[in-house]
């Protein structure tokens, strides 16, 4: 049942031009960055050869590219997630879901997975770029996989925040702006360096728990952090939709 809703959401995303345009624009921007990274790799290639250790194209090209991807997604996810529930509210289609034999959790998970599937498609397309390097050389697949996992978890968190924000309001722009704001704050929390509680705040930062993945460092604590982050916002979404029925 969750997958029925997820499939429906994914399908409707692709019925709107927005999804296609986002795919195209993101791919274009990241392709541009990818080329820049390749170019800088070519200029320092000779020096790298002289260095000892395994410092190769994956570190110089793929890791920064994934870092860029994370930031681009921060800008783009609010634009896709904003319509998830707001639009249904606007068009008064929520009763269809509410009066069907479904639990609120199923509805929320369905919508979330639909959005997440779209974002994973986006990630997949981006990953094709570094994979194209295989034509001319080798890649560090461990690093690639770790970076991809990090991005996937981060995107999951973005999507969960986006879904929650879209349950709060009827207006897509409001949902988009509040999603973006929330994500940016979580991103920047690690700027807190001094003062009491700075450590705790920095610990909550999304960035601090994603960077290790991009460097190839897999830590279950980071995985758990992301899963908790996602779970929290999904639970909040369920609560918020339940409030729709109780409210007034």
């Amino acid at each position: 049942m969750i997958f029925t809703i997820a499939r429906h959401e994914l399908r409707r995303l692709f019925l709107s031009p927005l999804a296609w345009i986002i795919l195209a624009v993101v791919e274009f921007i990241l392709a541009w960055m990818f080329l820049q990274h390749i170019e800088s790799f070519l200029t320092i290639q000779s020096q790298l050869l002289g260095m000892s250790g395994e410092y190769g194209i994956t570190e110089v090209v793929v890791s920064p590219l994934f870092g860029n991807t994370a930031f681009v997604l921060l800008l783009v996810v609010p634009l896709i997630s904003m319509r998830l529930v707001t639009e249904e509210r606007r068009n008064k289609t929520l009763p269809l879901l509410f009066s069907a034999p479904l639990s609120m959790t199923e509805i929320v998970l369905g919508k979330y997975l639909g959005l997440y599937a779209f974002l994973l498609i986006l990630l997949l397309l981006i990953t094709l770029m570094p994979l194209s390097l295989l034509a001319g050389g080798g890649l560090d697949f461990g690093l690639l996989a770790s970076g991809l996992l990090g991005l996937a978890l981060l995107t999951g968190g973005f999507a969960a925040v986006g879904l929650f924000m879209s349950t709060l309001t009827q207006h897509q722009t409001v949902a988009a702006v509040s999603t973006f704001g929330t994500l940016l704050i979580f991103w920047l929390l690690d700027w807190a360096r001094s003062g009491t509680g700075a450590g705790a705040l920095a610990y909550l930062s999304l960035l601090n728990h994603t960077e290790p993945f991009l460097k190839g460092l897999f830590d279950t604590r980071d995985v758990v952090y992301h899963l908790l982050f996602i779970g929290t916002f999904l639970a909040l979404s369920v609560r918020r939709l339940d409030m729709d029925r109780l409210g007034g």
């Binding site: 029925t4 709107s16 289609t93 009763p95 269809l96 009066s99 069907a100 029925r245 007034g248």
Partner: protein
């Protein structure tokens, strides 16, 4: 005659903050009944329907759908309900077929039977020709029909339609009414409306709700009986004294209207028409017109929803309407 009770509502209330939108409503609907839910705008019709379909949690009360408690066992109860909200919940960027397939899946129709369910629903709502068109491009009437198709696709025992004919043209209204009557043969249907003729033509039971209270709950036959009665409009060339007419057996009350005619109120059981005509001939009153009047549903409706009884003679005639008929329905405030 007495089929199984499919929907049972007990002491249902709903507060919006301090405002009580629905006050202790109780009623039940049996199989094969079409219940008309009447009331002015803001009376609480939509609120009640939202509660019946699980879109709104009641502040108090209990709802049983086909034997399942809506709050303890929402999944089973919701599976037994089809709901068309005031605005059909359609996705404008899907085709009719895609949309109905999705609805079928949402209502847990197994994959192999979805197509048949969709075709049957389309058939009932005469949507066969528009299956491949985008819902957003269809006219309001067709969208409404898609909404109804969505509500009946899983063949629920209880169908709840919130103002199904609002905003349609007369031909579409007739079609939808016909459809509702057809549906009423197999399912039980609740529809809300503020159009009175709709209730008269379609429904087997009538409920009038005003300011959140159920003020009338009768079968259409009872209602028809109430409307039979009890007023004659008379016009005489030589106006007799009103007190003379008042003394004729069966006459309850006489009043003269502005246009010079008389309105004679009588008990439904004893019709004084014959006596009046005889007297008129005997005493040369010069009877010019005698029109028996049926109290229209409008009269009953207006009187009940004004909440102000016994001012006029008409109100006195129907004053007893306030008491709901079925004592078994109980729980009236």
């Amino acid at each position: 005659m007495h089929h199984t009770t499919l929907l049972q509502v007990n002491e249902l209330s709903r507060f919006y903050g301090p405002l009580q939108a629905v006050k202790n409503i109780s009623f039940e609907v049996r199989q094969g009944e079409v219940l008309g839910f009447l009331g002015p705008n803001g009376a609480g019709k939509t609120t009640t329907m939202q509660m019946l379909t699980g879109n709104l949690a009641p502040s108090q009360g209990r709802i049983m759908v086909a034997g399942h408690d809506l709050f303890e066992n929402p999944r089973a109860a919701k599976a037994a309900i089809g709901y068309l909200p005031e605005q059909p919940p359609v996705y404008r960027d899907l085709t009719v077929d895609e949309y109905l397939d999705y609805c079928a899946a949402l209502n847990r129709i197994v994959r192999g039977k979805r197509r048949a369910a969709r075709d049957a629903a389309k058939d009932k709502c005469s949507l066969n020709e528009v299956g491949r068109r985008l819902i957003g491009n269809l006219s309001k009437g067709f969208q409404q029909r898609v909404g109804i198709a969505q509500a009946i696709i899983h063949l629920p025992p209880v169908i709840i339609l919130d103002e199904p004919t609002a905003g349609l043209d007369p031909i579409q209204i007739r079609e939808i009414r016909h459809l509702v009557r057809e549906l009423g043969k197999e399912h039980s249907v609740i529809l809300s409306t503020h159009i009175l003729t709709e209730v008269q033509t379609v429904c087997s039971h009538v409920q009038i709700i005003n300011k959140g209270e159920l003020v009338l709950n009768v079968s259409s036959d009872d209602l028809a009986q109430r409307m039979q009665s009890s007023v004659l409009t008379l016009r005489f060339r030589n106006m007799p004294d009103l007190s003379v007419i008042e003394k004729i057996a069966g006459v309850k009350n006489v009043e003269s209207a502005d246009d010079g005619s008389l309105r004679v109120y009588h008990e439904p059981s004893s019709d004084p028409t014959e006596a009046l005509v005889t007297r008129s001939v005997e005493q040369h009153w010069g009877l010019a017109a005698l029109i028996p009047q049926r109290a229209s549903l409008e009269d009953i409706f207006l009187e009940l929803t004004k909440g102000d009884v016994s001012q006029t003679g008409a109100a006195a005639t129907h004053g007893d309407v306030r008491t709901p008929q079925d004592a078994e329905n109980g729980g009236q405030p």
